[in-house]
Amino acid sequence: MLGAACLAGCAATPRGDPHLLDFLDGAGVTRAAAIARLGPAYATYENGRVVAYLIDSGPLGPYVAPRRGDWRGVDRDLILVFDANDMLAQHRLIPIRDASRTH
C-alpha cells in the first residue's frame, strides 16, 4: 500500500526547476557549487577546464537530462568554462534540437 502510494507520487512529480540555472548568472560561482547544483558533468574538455551538461525542458523548467548515446531527450547543451582557480569564467546554453519536437 505504502509502496503504491510512493509510486503514484513519483509518477505524478513533474520534472524541471525554473530556477535550476539561475545561479550561473551570479558572481563567484565555483566548480564545487556547479557540481552541487547540477551533479557530475556529462563530459569534460580542455583538461577539465570545460564541462558539459545535457539539459532538457520539463513542465516546470529545465532539468539535467540523463546521458544517452544520442541527443534524444535533450534540447540544449550547457557548457561551463572554469578558470585556473575553478571559478566559473564563462557559460553558454546552446540549442541542440528544437524543444517543441517529441522525444
Binding site: 574538455y45 580542455e46 558539459a52 548515446g69 544520442d70 557548457i79 546552446i94 541542440i96
Partner: protein, 157 residues
C-alpha cells in the same frame, strides 16, 4: 501453326500471366515530405553545411566550437578532431512502393533517397586551433554507415 511455336506462345503467355499477377498488387505512390521536416531520431539540429564557413582555419579554437555548437558527436584521442553529425528527412516529393497482397495485407518501402546525412569534421593543431575543416553529405534511405568510415578522413579544407 507448328506445335513448337504454339508451345512457345503458351510459355510466354504463362510467364506474362505470372508477372501480371505478381505486379498487380504493387503501386508506386508519390509521398509529400513537409518542407519543415526535422532531423531524425536522436540527431542534432544545430549544425549544417552552412556551419562550415563560420569555422576559420588558424583562428577558431576548440573552445569556440564548444561554445558555438555544443559538444561534438564524435571526438578523437586527445581531442585532435571533433565531428558533428546530422540525419534529416529531405523535404519534397518522394516515391514509395505500396504492396497489397491476398489475404488483405499491405506493406510499403521507400523508393529512392528520402533522407540525408551530413558530417562536419574539424581537426585541431596542438594548440587547439582549427587546422582543417571537412564536410561530407549523402542522400540515402536507412542511412546506416553511408559516410566514410574514418571519422577524421573528411577534414580536408
Amino acid at each position: 501453326m507448328p506445335a513448337a511455336l504454339t508451345e512457345r506462345a503458351g510459355r510466354c503467355g504463362l510467364a506474362g500471366a505470372v508477372l501480371v499477377l505478381a505486379l498487380c498488387g504493387c503501386i508506386a505512390l508519390p509521398v509529400p515530405v513537409h518542407q519543415a521536416a526535422k532531423t531524425r531520431g536522436g540527431s542534432r539540429d544545430n549544425v549544417s553545411a552552412d556551419s562550415a564557413p563560420q569555422i576559420l582555419i588558424g583562428q577558431t579554437t576548440r573552445l569556440d566550437l564548444l561554445l558555438q555548437f555544443g559538444e561534438p558527436d564524435g571526438r578523437g584521442a586527445g581531442d585532435q578532431w571533433f565531428t558533428y553529425r546530422t540525419h534529416r528527412d529531405r523535404a519534397g516529393w518522394h516515391w514509395a512502393l505500396v504492396v497489397i497482397g491476398i489475404p488483405p495485407t499491405a506493406g510499403g518501402a521507400p523508393l529512392g533517397n528520402w533522407q540525408r546525412v551530413e558530417r562536419l569534421t574539424i581537426r585541431f593543431d596542438e594548440r587547439g586551433v582549427v587546422a582543417a575543416v571537412g564536410f561530407e553529405g549523402r542522400n540515402c534511405t536507412g542511412c546506416r554507415n553511408v559516410l566514410s568510415a574514418g571519422e577524421a578522413a573528411g577534414a580536408t579544407r
